[in-house]
Amino acid sequence: MECLFNTFSQMVTGTVKVLNENGIHLRLAGELVKAASRFESRITIASDEQQVDAKSILGVAGLGAEFGVELLIQATGNDENEALAFLKQLFENKFAIKDD
């Protein structure tokens, strides 16, 4: 799907995989947004179908990312590398909270 904020001139990108069995439900979306909001950079996260702002809870929840789905993270800004590394780790650690 075409997207309006797909036009960063400089950015870092990385893919992550959803390792939480119940997928990105609302609580995890909240955790992800909280993590992304710690950074100044503009961060987007995309599934095959759509790209959303990583700082928007409804956006991230709306991805409906299920277990095993791969997502593309793009960040642009002063702290883009730190942001990407942090978010990648968050996914790898299964958001460091017990899946309920």
Partner: protein, 322 residues
């Protein structure tokens, strides 16, 4: 949806409306549907292969079948074979007509699905084109809030945390209607942009400090609507005293969305500023402009006229030394 639409997907979405039945064993095609247009392959059947628009859905109606029936069995098979010299997404038979066996067997051989509708050709083509145009309409998703304010679709955009949702909530509280918060799906129909929320997120909002609410539950049925034409983009930016803010409104700014220019206003935000009232004024002013009334231009004209008439008076009095 991108610009690939498989025949299976097409069938699944339309078989109820068009009462389709499948004449081939499967619906799998080698090529997807890629364009919203249709084609009637009468000329291809007769052997005139120039401009054979094989990428399109092929519609076979009474004329094509009458022609086929007028041929000898050998000629008929040759005519049908011409259709399959190119990869086709699918063939649709109208009016529930019976088709030659060769058409089905050759379609099977070339993996082209054949489906049939009981509808007459012309009304069927009208409905089908309508459906395909919606499917292939240019679309995009954006981050923002879309609110119907006095019947004008205002799309609030800006960095996360700038207060788009809070403004939308405030507007809903004042009687306006929320279309989508946070994620807005936009489709283009001609020169009109239609925005709507994602189906499973519809009318949910996230308000910082409060959490998730559903405006329809809180404010009732009047608080939401499903889709709305986007007429003005209200870009919210953090107030910066050094920046050149538009103070006049004489020049119009536009933002391009899916190739359509939408009026854009950049509104500075700072604590204590009432964006809601400004938003209502934006909507009303936009309606006035639609009706041809432009306050900034009128003031400008009044000033010019006044100076012009002053000049005349001054010229008259200049050498008047009575």
């Amino acid at each position: 949806m991108g610009n690939e639409y498989s025949t299976e997907e097409f069938y699944k979405e339309t078989y109820e409306e068009f009462d389709f039945d499948i004449l081939t064993t499967g619906l799998t095609s080698k090529v997807p549907i890629t364009v919203p247009d249709i084609h009637r392959p009468a000329f291809a059947l007769t052997g005139f292969m120039e401009n054979y628009l094989y990428q399109r859905i092929q519609i076979i109606g009474e004329t094509e079948l009458l022609y086929l029936r007028s041929l000898s069995p050998k000629q008929q098979k040759e005519a049908i074979q011409r259709l399959f010299t190119k990869p086709l997404p699918c063939i649709i038979i109208t009016k529930g007509l019976e088709v030659p066996n060769d058409l089905i067997s050759l379609a099977e051989e070339h993996a082209v699905p054949v489906i049939r509708t009981p509808l007459s050709t012309t009304p069927f083509i009208h409905s089908l084109t309508g459906h395909l145009e919606t499917v292939f309409a240019p679309r995009a998703t954006t981050h923002g809030s879309l609110v119907d304010v006095y019947g004008v679709g205002l799309l609030f955009m800006g960095k996360s945390g700038i207060g788009k949702s809070e403004i939308a909530l405030d507007l809903v509280e004042r009687g306006h209607r929320l279309v989508a918060d946070d994620v807005v799906e936009i489709t283009r129909h001609g020169d009109v942009l239609i925005g709507r929320g994602q189906e499973h997120l519809r009318h949910f909002m996230e308000i910082r400090g409060l959490g998730i609410i559903n405006v329809m539950d809180v404010f009732g049925i009047r608080a939401g609507r499903i889709q709305k034409r986007i007429e003005v983009v209200v870009q919210l930016e953090v107030w910066d005293p050094k920046r050149d803010w538009d103070r006049l409104g004489l020049d119009e700014h536009y933002m391009e969305i899916l190739g359509v220019n939408v009026r854009q206003l950049i509104i500075p935000v700072y604590p204590g500023k009432n964006i809601t009232v400004i938003s209502e004024a934006i909507a009303l002013n936009h309606m006035l402009k639609v009706y041809g009334i432009d306050a900034a231009k009128r003031l400008d004209k009044q000033l010019v006229d006044m100076m012009e008439s002053d000049k005349k008076t001054r010229r008259y009095l200049k050498y008047d030394t009575e």
